[in-house]
């Protein structure tokens, strides 16, 4: 069988699927509602993200202000752990 014949059969067979129509196709009004709902949801998620970020940043600032030494120790420990993890992972990959 030649490539052209395969391509032609493929084209003809796939064109049959154009006859199928989506059963749940929304109307224009439904689509507008969908657009509005999706945008509202996006806004809500953005607000939640900002609130969580604000709480997180406030917590860190308060922590730095009240226990600066503990904060520095935590930071140093996290950095060392991170670097250590990367080194171990690379060694395991090479093995």
């Amino acid at each position: 069988m030649k490539d052209n014949e395969v391509k032609e059969r493929l084209k003809q067979s796939l064109s049959v699927m154009e006859e199928s129509s989506p059963g749940d196709k929304p109307t224009l009004n439904e689509m507008v509602t969908q657009v509005k709902q999706t945008r509202q949801k996006q806004k809500k998620e953005l607000y939640i993200f900002f609130i969580i970020a604000l709480i997180f940043i406030t917590g860190i600032i308060l922590f730095i202000a009240s226990e600066p030494l503990v904060f520095i120790v935590f930071q140093a420990a996290a950095t060392i752990l991170g670097i250590g993890f990367l080194i171990v992972e690379r060694r395991l990959q090479h093995e």
Partner: protein, 174 residues
């Protein structure tokens, strides 16, 4: 400027009705493309709706100078399908062919069943470019952009896909 371009322009400015009209205009096109990928009408419908929601969320990122809205939607749909495949959430292969057969039962020829069955056996990385190239006639550059791979990879995937289809269809005829 044609009507679609005008709508896209208004949609970019935040006009909800214009965006709804732009997406609705492409709804059938996206559905038929996803039907060819998934071979499953219900999954294709779900994914078309997901594609539309994703498009609403990201419409600000769409650049009309870079691609047609249909190409952009196909890119979103392809990504969604690839993600779904990766997660293996929708692996109900057995009912697919039957549902599609039922939907299109009025069609006289059954050659399309043989061909779509052969197409279904292809891996998704081969199925996507073969449909985009040989059915929709997209250029190698467009397919590379949609699949996010180099043009050379697209060409090699197309060669492999055609070879597999040729073998599969030749076997079918014997």
């Amino acid at each position: 400027m044609d009507e679609t371009e005008e709508r896209i322009k208004r949609a970019k400015k935040g006009d909800d009705e214009a965006l709804a009209a732009v997406l609705l205009e492409q709804y059938d096109f996206v559905y038929h493309y996803l039907l060819k990928l998934t071979m499953h009408p219900a999954v294709a419908e779900d994914m078309t709706q997901e594609t539309m929601i994703r498009a609403i969320e990201r419409f600000k990122q769409y650049n009309p100078k870079k691609a047609k809205v249909s190409t952009w939607l196909i890119q979103i749909g392809t990504n969604l399908w690839t993600d779904e495949k990766r997660k293996e959430k929708r692996a109900k292969k057995f009912t697919n062919q039957h549902q599609l057969e039922w939907e299109l039962r009025h069609h006289s020829s059954d050659d399309w069943l043989i061909v779509t069955s052969a197409l279904e056996k292809l891996k998704e990385i081969h199925r996507v470019p073969v449909i985009l190239k040989h059915y929709y006639g997209y250029s190698y550059e467009d397919i590379a952009a949609i699949c996010k791979v180099p043009i050379g990879t697209v060409k090699s995937r197309l060669n492999i896909a055609l070879k597999c289809l040729r073998e599969e269809l030749s076997n079918e005829g014997q």
